[in-house]
Every structure is written in structure tokens, then in C-alpha cells.
């Protein structure tokens, strides 16, 4: 049996009024890939902050043994010096600097403050080879896709002589193929003896690469088991939510009605490249009570399609028509699109969906203030009642509707965004990655909500990168690739393989 590189014993971390971690233990053996699973707010990030010294020694109870000795990190640079490096979900690269400059940021190959560019580029090239990138060291990071940026982050960690590499939701924003490349790289690094911790919501990935899984729930370590025990997704889910989840998608009685919305000949030019058609001749329709999926890789134009329909919020030279109930409607700005009966729930809730520093109430009513106002004057009481109603209906977990949304977990933030759009009373809801970055329990609740909407006769368009989710939720699936729809099929005839082959054969 290998020695433990890291042994966190009985870590307890208390914030005023909250016990964020309660007697959590984590043992990571040298050279393994250790997965940490848990719902949002379970305490994973807090645990990593304790480990990396964001919360310095003394601010928590318990002991961290690292590399055979008691470790007391004062800050991040302290833990980094010992080879513990965390790659966060939000990448920390400077977009306008080159790959090489980013790799050695704060750690430059310099003599007397003067950078040795030849040495820098030489080392960059060798590091990039290690992570499987073939871009020139002088390429600006902003020119790279998210997948490649993630790999640059790993190369950056390698440049610092990393011994324990921690990846926080590394594939959350990656396409299927980029995710695969990243997981392959992790396995490759493992063969070279690197110890890694991965925090992930994607259980299929965890099952694929992890040697050991530790599940954390409500600030406590619930279970820890080795791959040899047979890691099953169901087992992890059961430990994460404290209940078994036989069916990950709640059942729905399908009652599909008349044609609700139809989009015809929809074409959009890229806002920055006048010669590039980002969306070409897209046609699709949604019926009342129907959940329609749009599958496709990231960058296939799904979000761009949705946003261009929703009040021309993306692109230019938009042509085509949107019909509701068979009649063309004006969707030339967001207000008109809302009045036409549309709602769009963005994939990027933090920067496009919410005003983070504002309260739950104010976020929910924002798109339909007229409903809580008498003339131009707002009615506080009505506003609070609306917020309270959605808090109950969607079970938004918060001490009160006057909390700022920045303090909520991802799943609850998403429920606030959904509440906002339900409050405008749309006929068709376009949901863009509605379950991205939220935990299993909240996902289930959101699926249930989608079913309720369909049962109430609304049309739902669901854009998702997770194919199982589309297969589990939709009645019909469109496949999108490179700005155009390349296929349409009822879900009963759909499979992951069939969708994938449509994408790659195009």
C-alpha cells in the first residue's frame, strides 16, 4: 500500500453561525486520482480553502499532514511552495498575455528582473507538449478556447513543480471532446506519478478516472471508497443526497398540443466578422406541452441562436421570422420578445442572468416590474409577496427573500433566474444549459419544474451539452452543428451515438 501524501484529520471550520466543515477527514494516497463529490454548498470548496491556506492554520480545528509532516500553511503561496496547486473553475489566466507569459506569471525566468525569452519559450514548449498542446508559446490566451485554456492552466501548474494537483470542476465548461482530452491527460499524469484531486459533478467522469471517491454532505465526510469496491454512479448519488435516486429524471405524462412557436429561415451574421454567418437557415418549432431539446457541441451556435431570437441579443443582420400561434411576431428587442411570449434563461447566470449584489426579490421582479407597480410606483408589499411565492414554489433555500443572491448556491441562484422568467408568464421558455454547475438534488428539482411547465401547456426549448439529460427530458431533439440544424428526431428514436454521429458526419 502506498503512503498517504495528504491526510486531513478531523477538520472543523466554523464561520459565525455556521459550521461549514464538521469533522471532515480526507486521505489522499501518493499517485492516485482522488475524487471529491458533494452537492453545492456541501463544503468541498471550504475544504480546499483550508488545504491551500486561504484559511490559514489556526483558523480551523484539526490537522493537515502533508508529505509525512504536520503542515501549517499561512497562505496560498505557502502551500504552493510545497507543491499544492489548485486550478479553479474560473480560470485565472490573463487573456491578453501570451501562453508563455501566463505560464510563468509571478514565476518568470528572469535574471535581475530581465526576462530570458529564449529560456521561457523553450520551457513553455516542453510544458505544452506534456499537456498535449501544439500552439505556439506566443499565442495570446484569448485566442484559445476554454478547453485549451484549461490545459494551459495545468501546464502552468506543472511549471511550478506541482506535487498535488487539485482541479475544481475542470470540465464544467468544456465540450465533450475537450473533456475527454482533459481526463486523458489526468490519467497520463497519473502514470507519471502525479497525485491529483478532482472535484466534479459529472459522475461518469468520476467513475472513469478516480481511484478513490470521498463524498461530502452538509459539511461532513460521508463516505470514502476505493475503485476496487466498484464505484457506481448510483452509490455516489445516494451518498451525496442522502437518498437513492433510482430515476434521475422525474416522469411526466406527455400531453402535446398545438403548434406554439415556429422559427423560419433564421440566419445571423457574427457581430465581429461581417463575412461569417454564425447561424444559417435554421428552422424549428415547439408545440404546447412539449419539451424540445437542442443538442450540439459547445460553440455549435446554440446559445447564439437562442439569444438572436430573444430580442436580437446576439449578432447582426438577423433575418427570418418567428411565429407564435401561426402569426409572425416582432422580437426585435428583448421587451418585444417578452411581450410575444418568450423567455430566455441564460447559460451564464452570474454575468447575464443575475444582479449578484441585489436581493432575491429584486432579481425575481426585474423583468416584470409593471406587475408589482401601481403606475410608475413600486409596491413593496406586492413585490415581497411575489418573491415569497416563488421561494415556496421552487423551494429556493434561503433565510429570506431579502438575501443577496451572491450568497446563494448555484442551484438556488438558478432557481432565482427561473423564477424571474416564470414571473413574466411566458408561453415558450428557452432554457440554456439549465442545470450547468448545479448539484444533483437541485437538478432533479429543476427537471421537475420543467415537467410542470410542460404539463401547464408551455413550450420548453432545452439547450444542453449533457446528452443523457436531453434524452431523459425531451420529447424531440434537434441536433445543431456549426450554426445549422443537422438533424431532428423524436427522443424515442434518439441515442447518444446517433446524435454524435450526426455531429461528426456533418
Amino acid at each position: 500500500m502506498q503512503d498517504a501524501l495528504l491526510d486531513m484529520r478531523s477538520i472543523t471550520k466554523t464561520f459565525p453561525g455556521v459550521k461549514a466543515l464538521d469533522d471532515v477527514s480526507l486521505k489522499v494516497r501518493t499517485g492516485e486520482i482522488h475524487a471529491i463529490c458533494g452537492e453545492n454548498g456541501a463544503g468541498k470548496s471550504t475544504l480546499m480553502k483550508v488545504l491551500s491556506g486561504v484559511y490559514p492554520a489556526g483558523s480551523y480545528d484539526g490537522e493537515i499532514h502533508y508529505d509525512g509532516a504536520l503542515a501549517q500553511f499561512r497562505d496560498i503561496s505557502d502551500s504552493e511552495a510545497r507543491g499544492i496547486i489548485i486550478i479553479h473553475q474560473e480560470l485565472a489566466l490573463v487573456p491578453l498575455l501570451s501562453i508563455a507569459e501566463n505560464l510563468f506569471l509571478g514565476n518568470e525566468n528572469a535574471r535581475g528582473g530581465v526576462i530570458d525569452w529564449r529560456e521561457t519559450n523553450r520551457r513553455t514548449e516542453s510544458l505544452l507538449r506534456k499537456v498535449g498542446l501544439r500552439d505556439a508559446p506566443t499565442t495570446l490566451v484569448e485566442k484559445l478556447g476554454v478547453g485549451k485554456q484549461q490545459l494551459v492552466e495545468i501546464a502552468k501548474a506543472l511549471a511550478k513543480d506541482v506535487r498535488l494537483l487539485i482541479l475544481d470542476e475542470p470540465t464544467a465548461a468544456l465540450s465533450e471532446s475537450d473533456s475527454q482530452a482533459l481526463l486523458d491527460l489526468m490519467l497520463e499524469l497519473k502514470t507519471q506519478g502525479m497525485t491529483q484531486i478532482i472535484i466534479s459533478h459529472k459522475l461518469n467522469e468520476v467513475r472513469r478516472i478516480a481511484d478513490t471517491v470521498t463524498v461530502i454532505r452538509d459539511g461532513q465526510s460521508v463516505s470514502s471508497f476505493a475503485a476496487s469496491d466498484g464505484i457506481t454512479e448510483d452509490r455516489i448519488v445516494r451518498d451525496m443526497v442522502g437518498r437513492s435516486m433510482e430515476n434521475r429524471y422525474p416522469p411526466r405524462t406527455r400531453r402535446i398540443g398545438d403548434l406554439l412557436m415556429r422559427v423560419r429561415d433564421w440566419s445571423v451574421t457574427h457581430p465581429d466578422h461581417a463575412d461569417r454567418k454564425a447561424i444559417r437557415d435554421v428552422e424549428f418549432d415547439v408545440r404546447a406541452g412539449e419539451v424540445v431539446g437542442i443538442a450540439g457541441l459547445m460553440g455549435s451556435g446554440r446559445t447564439e441562436l437562442a439569444m438572436s431570437i430573444f430580442g436580437r441579443s446576439w449578432g447582426r443582420n438577423i433575418t427570418g421570422t418567428v411565429e407564435m400561434h401561426g402569426k409572425p411576431v416582432d422580437v426585435s428587442d428583448v421587451g418585444r420578445a417578452i411581450r410575444a411570449g418568450l423567455a430566455y434563461v441564460t447559460e451564464d447566470r452570474k454575468s447575464l442572468g443575475l444582479i449578484l449584489d441585489d436581493t432575491i426579490t429584486r432579481n425575481i421582479t426585474l423583468a416584470n416590474l409593471a406587475e408589482v407597480a401601481r403606475g410608475p410606483v413600486l409596491n413593496d408589499r406586492a413585490e415581497t409577496q411575489v418573491a415569497e411565492r416563488y421561494r415556496k414554489d421552487l423551494s429556493i433555500r434561503t433565510p429570506g427573500v431579502f438575501q443577496k443572491v451572491v450568497n446563494l448556491s448555484g442551484g438556488n441562484q438558478q432557481k432565482v433566474v427561473l423564477s424571474k422568467w416564470l414571473f413574466v408568464g411566458p408561453e415558450v421558455l428557452i432554457l440554456d444549459e439549465p442545470t450547468r454547475g448545479i448539484d444533483v438534488g437541485a437538478k432533479y428539482e429543476i427537471y421537475g419544474l420543467i415537467n410542470d411547465l410542460a404539463a401547464a401547456g408551455k413550450g420548453v426549448v432545452m439547450i444542453s451539452s449533457e446528452m443523457p439529460e436531453l434524452l431523459g427530458m425531451c420529447d424531440r431533439i434537434y441536433v445543431m452543428n456549426e450554426g445549422t440544424l443537422v438533424g431532428e428526431m423524436p427522443t424515442s428514436e434518439a441515442s447518444q451515438e446517433r446524435i454524435m454521429s450526426l455531429i461528426v458526419n456533418e
Binding site: S313, A373, G400
Partner: protein
């Protein structure tokens, strides 16, 4: 009840008050700082600060800054800045002088024209900022230079004045006492002057503060969101109410209610109402809080930004008229560097540079704080050199305090 139980309950209450205070340090801090500074200058100036004549002066001196601070708060909450207001104010004063003094145009026509020109100026700048996405810093920096130059050109480098009496009264006049009983009060209080209207205004304002405070508190309790300890609430309301009565009483014993105080008061109430209670106000905060999210919620963010600058232009024009009337002359240097005082007042009042945060009342108190500092230091005979340094440090301290508070919270 046992002793132990009792003491533990007290400890709980103290903890609650402590945490409440920590969360609302900024608002109390501003009020407390204003009172402390006034108290300090009252003592070191030997009581000059709060003499009726000085108090009247203090209001007149700061009226145009407060009027512009109302518009600047809106601009800053929307996520922008306006560096041109000092120049615009000077330009409008110059325009008024040329129209009234040189061309002998009627005062009413002149004032309406000036306000309209202010709106056009604000719109001209707002257009580039809102629809072309040119940073407001650049556009209004350009505006600052352009309108400074236009004032010089319009006045041909000369001072133009004086204004007719009817124009001067908008800044230096007083509201006539329409209420009876002045003689009785004079005899009763042994003062030479007593303006019943001014005093009554103070009483009405104070009662309104108490009434609306109680109403708000009752409403918050109904929602279960009231966390201000009772003692704090009472103290805060009492301080504000007493201050209002006190100040208006002092004014009553001098010449009564200055016209500009009335203008300022009415404008402050209107803007506080718009920003805090209306759909329009809510949208401005949303725009500053997250422009993209606001836009995707169906808010016409461009038009809102444009209107914020039109509004700023109108208020700068009003301030320009008041300023010119007060000095009784228009000079090419009028309003020089005044934009900085206005911006400082808004930030001292708690607005955030990144937009979405700030209150009208905060901006007004911030402007008063700066005004009292100016006035107090001038009475003490402190040189302009030290005055500038102290004001700069006060601004820095207020913002550091904000950032520190935010980090801690």
C-alpha cells in the same frame, strides 16, 4: 428568573446590536461623522458655525453642489461618471448672463432656454456614451474642455453682470412668511426676527421623518426583515428630527426659508422618491448592477443611460442659474473644478464606483459634510492649501472605509 439566564439574554442582545452595527456601520458612520464634524467646528469657531447667518450662508454656498450631486448620483449608480458638470454649470451661467444682461431678454424665457440647453448638452454627451459605448470618462472629459472653452468664448473673456434683482432672488431670496403669529413669537422668544413659515416647515419635516420612519419600520416588521434595534431606530430618527427643527428654527430667527433651500429640498425628495420607489429608479440600479443582465431582462439600457445624462445636464443647468444668481455675475472661471466636489460628495455618500450602489440621501449628506468642512475651515482661517489636503483625505478615508467594510462583510 435566575441571574444566569438574565445575563445570557443580555449577552445575546449585545451580540445582535454589535452585528447590526457592523452591517450598517456605513450609514451610521456618515451621519455620525457629519454630527461630529459640525460639533467640532461649532466648538473651535466659538459658535459661529451654527449662527443663523452662517447657517443660511452654508446652505446657499452648497446649494448648487447638492443640486448637481442628485444628478451625479444617478449617473454614478448607472455605472458612469460626468466630469463636465462644472464646465456645463459655468457655461449655462454665462449663457444666462449674455441673454439677460447683454440682450435684455425676459428672465422666464432665459431660464427655460438655459434648462433646455442643459438637457441638450447632457443628451449630446449621453448619446455617445449610451449608443456608441464610448467611455463616459472620455466623453465628459472632452465636454469639460469644450464647455469651458464655450464659456470663455461666450463671455469674450469678461465677467458679465450684474443681474436684475428679479433674477438674483432665485439664489439669494427668501420665501415670504405667509403664516401669522410672527410678532407673538418674537415677543415670546425675545428675538428680532421670526419667520413662522420656516419654523413650521421644520416641524412638518420633522413629523414627516418620524411618521415615515415608524411606517417603514412597521412594514419591515410585517415582512420580518426589520433588524434595526429599537434604541438605534429611536436615536436615529430623533437626531434627524431634532436637527431639522433646530436648523429651521435658526433660519426662522434670521431671514426665513431661503428659496434655494426650498428648491433643494423639493428636488431631493423627488429624486429620492424616483430612485427608491419607482420602476424607473429600480431599472437604473439594475443597469448599474449588471448591464447585460438588465438588458436581457428587457430593460432599454441605452435609453436609460442616455436619460441619466440628459437629467444630469438639466440639473447642471439649474445649478448654473443658481450659481450665477448668487454671485450676481457670470465669469469665465465659474464652476472650475466643481465637478470634483460633486463627485466627491457622491462617493462620500456611499455610492460605488462600479455602479448599482448609492442613495440620494447619502449624496446629499456627503455634500453637506464637504460643505461644513469648507465652511468650518474657512471660518477658522485655514488656508486653501490645507483645506484641499483635508478634503482629499476625507474622500479617501470614506472610500477606504467602504472597501474595508465590503471586504469584511
Amino acid at each position: 428568573m435566575s441571574l444566569a439566564e438574565n445575563s445570557s439574554r443580555n449577552a445575546g442582545a449585545t451580540g445582535r446590536i454589535g452585528s447590526y452595527l457592523a452591517a450598517h456601520l456605513r450609514e451610521y458612520g456618515l451621519l455620525f461623522a457629519l454630527i461630529a464634524i459640525m460639533g467640532f467646528f461649532q466648538i473651535v469657531t466659538g459658535g459661529t458655525l451654527l449662527r443663523p447667518i452662517n447657517l443660511t450662508n452654508l446652505l446657499l454656498q452648497n446649494s448648487y453642489i447638492i443640486i448637481m450631486a442628485l444628478g451625479m448620483l444617478v449617473v454614478i449608480v448607472a455605472g458612469h461618471i460626468d466630469l463636465s458638470v462644472g464646465s456645463v454649470m459655468g457655461f449655462i451661467g454665462a449663457l444666462a448672463a449674455v441673454m439677460i444682461v447683454n440682450h435684455e431678454l425676459p428672465i422666464g424665457v432665459t431660464m427655460l432656454t438655459c434648462v433646455a440647453v442643459g438637457a441638450v448638452i447632457g443628451g449630446a454627451q449621453g448619446y455617445w456614451i449610451a449608443y456608441w459605448k464610448i467611455p463616459s470618462f472620455i466623453v465628459t472629459l472632452a465636454g469639460m474642455l469644450v464647455f469651458r472653452g464655450l464659456s470663455l468664448w461666450l463671455l469674450e473673456g469678461q465677467s458679465v453682470g450684474p443681474f436684475p434683482r428679479e433674477f438674483q432672488v432665485i439664489a439669494t431670496g427668501f420665501v415670504p412668511d405667509i403664516l401669522p403669529g410672527g410678532e407673538a413669537f418674537k415677543a415670546l422668544l425675545g428675538v428680532r426676527n421670526f419667520n413662522v413659515l420656516a419654523f413650521a416647515t421644520g416641524l412638518v419635516a420633522a413629523s414627516w421623518v418620524v411618521w415615515s420612519g415608524l411606517r417603514q419600520r412597521a412594514q419591515n416588521r410585517a415582512y420580518g426583515i426589520e433588524d434595526e434595534p429599537r434604541a438605534f431606530f429611536m436615536a436615529r430618527i430623533a437626531v434627524i428630527a431634532i436637527a431639522l427643527v433646530f436648523i429651521l428654527y435658526k433660519l426662522a430667527t434670521f431671514r426665513g426659508l431661503p428659496n434655494v433651500l426650498l428648491t433643494m429640498g423639493v428636488l431631493t425628495i423627488i429624486y429620492a422618491f424616483i430612485t427608491e420607489r419607482t420602476v424607473l429608479g429600480r431599472r437604473i440600479y439594475a443597469l448599474g448592477g449588471n448591464e447585460k443582465a438588465a438588458k436581457l431582462s428587457g430593460i432599454k439600457t441605452e435609453r436609460l443611460t442616455f436619460l441619466a445624462f440628459v437629467n444630469m445636464g438639466i440639473l447642471a443647468a439649474v445649478a448654473g442659474l443658481v450659481f450665477a444668481a448668487r454671485l450676481n455675475t457670470a465669469t469665465p472661471k465659474a464652476g472650475f473644478a466643481l465637478e470634483l466636489d460633486v463627485i466627491a460628495a457622491v462617493f462620500i455618500g456611499g455610492a460605488s464606483m462600479s455602479g448599482g450602489v448609492g442613495k440620494i440621501v447619502g449624496a446629499v449628506v456627503g455634500a453637506f459634510l464637504m460643505g461644513v468642512l469648507n465652511n468650518g475651515m474657512s471660518i477658522m482661517g485655514i488656508g486653501i492649501d490645507y483645506q484641499q489636503m483635508i478634503k482629499g483625505l476625507v474622500l479617501l478615508a470614506a472610500v477606504i472605509f467602504d472597501v474595508y467594510n465590503k471586504k469584511k462583510g
